[in-house]
């Protein structure tokens, strides 16, 4: 029963990872950029929402509603000032520039807010839970996080497949030059995609602030967790990201039962095991393996 509870809590934790990874996955899918400042931007959003809520005494959810357009504009600016220029000078430059940006964001947050850890005050929501059985409880915040993650990933999927802008984004991601030929302004589409991606990071940052404490240097860990979720789930697939997040969360929770340090070790280990399995299976079509097996007796 304890294991079932650990797995269940792991699934909810995975919901948070999926939420966190959403923007990273989306940006990689569309812009082909692995944004090394992703975690730092999430922490920046956490500070933004926390400051808004602390200073004006508004509900964290209203603070999030105010922060979202700010984050979207930040994403648009990020694309226009840094990413666009980086992409023009080769595939390695975005890694270098976004890493530099992460260092700037982390240390600027430290300069402004100091080393203290903070957490967003959400009242009872932080503790309230439902008892399934006497042993198994489901936290309201954990469930809310998972629901938001599913809604966000589903919403993005719908947006990409059903709306004109979604189509334009998919076309541009596929082949920007050809998209231009049919009248798509790829520059504007990229900027819109970056705005959407960073806005989702804003949501993730808010949930980070609600569910745990954060400090200026929390970003690196968040980037690694988000990246692990994306890779485990299969790069570029939004639903894969949800599964990747859940696998990561479950592995970490099971690991923590084995050793105090097992939480992180198990997460990293699963990441490498999935990668190794993918390399091993690469180029081996399961159908040909099956056919070879059938042919063998004859």
């Amino acid at each position: 029963m304890m294991w079932f509870d650990q797995i269940l809590q792991g699934v909810f934790l995975g919901g948070y990872y999926a939420l966190l990874a959403c923007g990273l996955s989306f940006m990689f899918g569309v812009l082909r950029i692995v944004n090394l400042a992703h975690g730092s931007i999430a922490v920046l959003a956490a500070y933004l929402v926390w400051s808004l809520a602390e200073q004006t005494h508004i509900s964290p959810f209203i603070a999030l509603a105010i922060a979202l357009p700010i984050m979207a504009i930040a994403g648009w600016l990020l694309q226009r000032t840094i990413l666009e220029r980086s992409l023009r000078s080769g595939s390695l430059t975005p890694l270098l520039s976004t890493f530099g940006l992460a260092v700037v964001i982390d240390n600027s947050l430290f300069q402004k807010f100091g080393a203290d850890t903070h957490s967003l005050d959400i009242g009872d929501l932080a503790y309230n839970s439902w008892n399934l059985t006497p042993d198994i409880t489901i936290g309201q915040l954990a469930l809310l996080t998972l629901v938001v993650a599913v809604a966000l990933l589903g919403g993005l999927q719908l947006f990409l497949s059903r709306t004109p802008l979604g189509r334009a984004i998919r076309a541009t991601a596929e082949d920007a030059d050809t998209a231009e030929l049919v009248g798509i302004d790829s520059r504007a589409v990229y900027a819109a995609a970056a705005a959407i991606a960073v806005a989702t990071v804003g949501i993730a940052g808010t949930f980070l602030a609600m569910r745990a404490t954060f400090d200026p240097y929390t970003g690196a860990t968040q980037l690694i967790f988000a990246f692990e979720a994306v890779v485990i789930g299969g790069t570029g697939s939004l639903w894969g990201t949800l599964i990747g997040g859940i696998v990561l969360g479950v592995a970490q929770n099971i690991g923590s039962q084995i050793n105090p340090q097992g939480f992180l070790i198990a997460g990293h280990a699963v990441f490498f095991i999935v990668l190794a399995a993918r390399f091993f299976l690469a180029g081996r079509d399961p159908r040909t393996l099956f056919r070879a097996l059938r042919r063998a007796p004859a």
């Binding site: 890694l95 520039s97 530099g100």
Partner: protein, 341 residues
């Protein structure tokens, strides 16, 4: 314009530069006799920075592999030195053997790591570094973040130790930078530079991309491990958090980008600049780190060839000849064209 073309490696400026460098190295070998204790210590640190910059440049500038996880080898190098020394091996022998051990370890790892592309490689290496950090923490000798010390080095008097550390760092730096130099001048060097310029095109004309990248990967791992072991020799204490910090990679990226990614001399200049900046602003804390990050960002966007790359592009100078120069004999005078070095 008749087509007499002569191919040269050495120019007057590069001969002068190499000769000066030779004299400088001999002078540096006698460093401890005239530098004084604190400067000797600082110079040891500079040598370590040059190693780190040269290794990261070899990896990213020539191998096209941006890694955010080189602190893995830095930390493992120091850890291996602790373990070897603890096992009873003489401390300076341990410091020398540790990087070779980690270099050997990086060979099987390379098979796996080099299959990762671009950003996957960058963060994949970071995850590897995190995993190594956690596993080292599990070792009873290290006792988690409490850490341990290279106790055996206390057998040497403080002054003697300082000089030995200096000489070891100088020797390792010279050996590693020379290794990169001769590697780039060799047949493999041509392969390395062709991979840097265009991996697919290089593969299509028969360059063994994977084998060449593996060579660079192992060299960079060995070098970073050496830097870690050397840092341990100066700090003595081993706290995993300090050694496995991503900060080290941030320094490497800063030095390489500012000096000139993909140039031979650039990272050395970048390391000297970083050393000076650190000496002056290191005490100012967070603003200093913001400045480092901002410089890396600005150089990657606006001066992707760094200070040295920009200078060579403009003036065609090469102090350490790793490329070739083509001289076209003309009716009047000569014109020089320099191959990208």
């Amino acid at each position: 314009m008749t087509g007499a073309i002569t191919v040269r490696r050495w120019t007057t400026s590069s001969i002068v530069a190499m000769a000066t460098l030779g004299v400088l190295l001999i002078l540096l070998a006698f460093g401890p006799t005239f530098l004084g204790p604190s400067l000797t210590d600082r110079m040891t640190t500079l040598f370590i920075y040059i190693i780190l910059a040269a290794m990261w440049n070899a990896l990213a500038g020539y191998g096209g592999l941006v890694s955010v996880g080189q602190q893995a080898f830095f930390g493992l190098g120091a850890y291996a030195a602790i373990k070897l020394s603890h096992a009873g091996i003489e401390v300076y022998v341990a410091l020398f053997l540790a990087p070779l051990l980690i270099g050997a370890l990086s060979l099987p790892l390379s098979t796996f790591a080099l299959r990762l592309r671009g950003g996957e490689f960058a963060i994949g290496m970071w995850v590897f570094a995190e995993l190594m950090h956690l596993l080292v923490n599990l070792d009873g000798l290290v006792q988690g973040e409490t850490g341990t010390s290279l106790i055996a080095i206390n057998d040497f008097a403080v002054d003697a130790r300082r000089d030995y550390n200096y000489w070891l760092a100088l020797a390792v730096m010279t050996a590693l930078v020379a290794a990169v130099f001769f590697l780039l001048r060799s047949r493999t060097g041509a392969a390395i530079q062709s991979i840097r310029d265009n991996e697919e095109a290089a593969a299509s004309i028969g360059v063994k991309v994977m084998a060449t990248k593996r060579l660079i990967f192992v060299l960079a791992a060995t070098g970073c491990a050496a830097a870690g072991a050397l840092t341990l020799s100066t700090l003595i204490s081993f706290q995993p958090k300090t050694y496995f910090s991503v900060q080290w990679t941030a320094y490497m990226i800063f030095m390489t980008l500012v000096g000139g990614l993909g140039t031979f001399e650039g990272p050395i200049i970048g390391a000297i600049i970083f050393f000076i900046v650190e000496t002056i602003f290191g005490g100012s804390g967070v603003w200093y780190l913001i400045g480092l990050g901002a410089s890396a960002l600005i150089f990657s966007l606006f001066f992707p060839r760094g200070i040295w790359g920009t200078l060579t592009d403009r003036f065609g100078i090469a102090l350490m000849p790793v490329g070739y120069r083509l001289t076209f004999a003309k009716d009047s005078g000569t014109a020089e064209a320099t191959t990208a070095a």
